[in-house]
């Protein structure tokens, strides 16, 4: 019996070790399925609620990651500048409140109020949408462009080229939107930045 349980344990370790760190998720050019998530104001938000939008700046961000917090003012500025141009910011918190209580819905409401978020800040229970996008860290940005086919993923990555010093000289998201506005494609369409690992729900 003991041998069996050791074997099962070994198998479990083996399987968990073999689990890929990143799943594929949406790729550049993919049409993104709409979602409906609860906002800090208690209302449900979906991409379909924005008939006039030309696209979306979708950002996985959270309450506790210092890098994400350092980006808050820049995210608000993005929304203020680009909402009028048809690219509103939609923020999603990918973290599990069971792992860090400071990521709870109430704390999200508080954070949105304290900072005066001008954009929705959505809860993603069980990481369903986070996994669909294969977001890995906060902040992690996905730029969508509305087309006849649906909302197409056009850019994945960092907001700008300075996640650590807060003094960027290249603004990836702004450049990507500018490219879309002139009928082009973002270049680069994928960037990387240092950020905080997503706090995944612990398997019960």
């Amino acid at each position: 019996m003991k041998a069996i349980s050791v074997f099962v344990l070994g198998l479990a370790v083996l399987l968990s070790a073999n689990k890929p760190a990143t799943n594929a998720g949406y790729q550049i050019g993919d049409v993104v399925e709409d979602f409906r998530l609860k906002n800090v104001d208690g209302k449900q938000v979906a991409l379909a609620d924005y008939p006039d939008a030309k696209g979306f700046i979708l950002i996985f961000t959270c309450n506790t990651c210092p890098v994400a917090v350092a980006y808050e003012d820049r995210i608000i500025a993005l929304d203020e500048q680009y909402r009028k141009q048809g690219y509103p910011v939609i923020a999603i918190n990918p973290n599990d409140a069971g792992v860090d209580a400071n990521e709870s819905f109430e704390k999200m409401q508080q954070r949105a109020k304290d900072k005066g978020f001008t954009f929705p800040y959505l809860l993603d229970p069980d990481h369903v949408i986070t996994k669909r996008f294969a977001a890995t860290h906060t902040p992690h940005t996905f730029l969508l462009q509305k087309t006849d086919r649906g909302n197409v993923l056009q850019y994945i990555g960092a907001i700008d080229n300075d996640s650590r010093e807060g003094n960027p000289d290249t603004k990836f998201v702004e450049d990507a939107i500018a490219a879309l506005q002139t009928g082009g494609k973002p270049d680069p369409n994928t960037t990387k930045a240092v950020g905080c690992t997503i706090k995944w729900k612990k398997a019960s």
Binding site: T22, H137, T191, A193, T197
Partner: protein
């Protein structure tokens, strides 16, 4: 008595200055770091990528210290590579001093994330904590974007050397 007092004051000031001027955490470029790893022969490097602001990183650092202690008789080298901004260099040195880490701590002297992140590993999204295991003689280079507890860390190390 007064003289003694002045003397004691001076000594206190000196001690304070000395600890203030505690050896700063050295800077290292990625090229220099890779050079060290490449010249490591049979040494297994466990390169932990962390930052003072990263809570899960700070939480797992004692396990890396423990690994180095428990396997000190083997060619094992734990390197804590900080991704803190260079402007926070002083804070990193202070943090390391307070924690009293025995393993080597260095600050990555790279600014361009688009260059250094994929160079460390194409599997790396940039999220930390992350850890790189390198053994040049065995041709091992394993990257893990995840948190470790002691058991998982030791198992990963032992899998390389066995």
């Amino acid at each position: 008595m007064k003289r003694f007092f002045v003397c004691a004051m001076a000594l206190t000031a000196l001690v304070a200055w000395r600890s203030e001027a505690q050896t700063p955490v050295p800077l290292i470029t990625l090229t220099e770091l890779e050079g060290r790893l490449a010249n490591g022969k049979d040494t297994t490097f466990v390169v932990n990528l962390w930052a003072t602001w990263c809570a899960p990183c700070v939480a797992e650092m004692p396990y890396f210290e423990q690994l180095q202690q428990n396997h000190g008789d083997k060619p094992l080298r734990v390197l804590f590579v900080s991704l803190d901004a260079k402007k926070n260099h002083g804070n990193v040195s202070k943090f390391v001093q307070e924690k009293g880490f025995k393993s080597e701590v260095i600050l990555l002297d790279e600014r361009n994330e688009q260059e250094f992140i994929p160079k460390v590993s194409t599997e790396w999204s940039g999220a930390i904590p992350a850890t790189l295991f390198v053994n040049t003689e065995k041709g091992v280079r394993i990257f893990k974007e995840r948190e470790f507890d002691y058991r998982q860390l030791e198992d990963s190390y032992l899998a390389i050397i066995q």
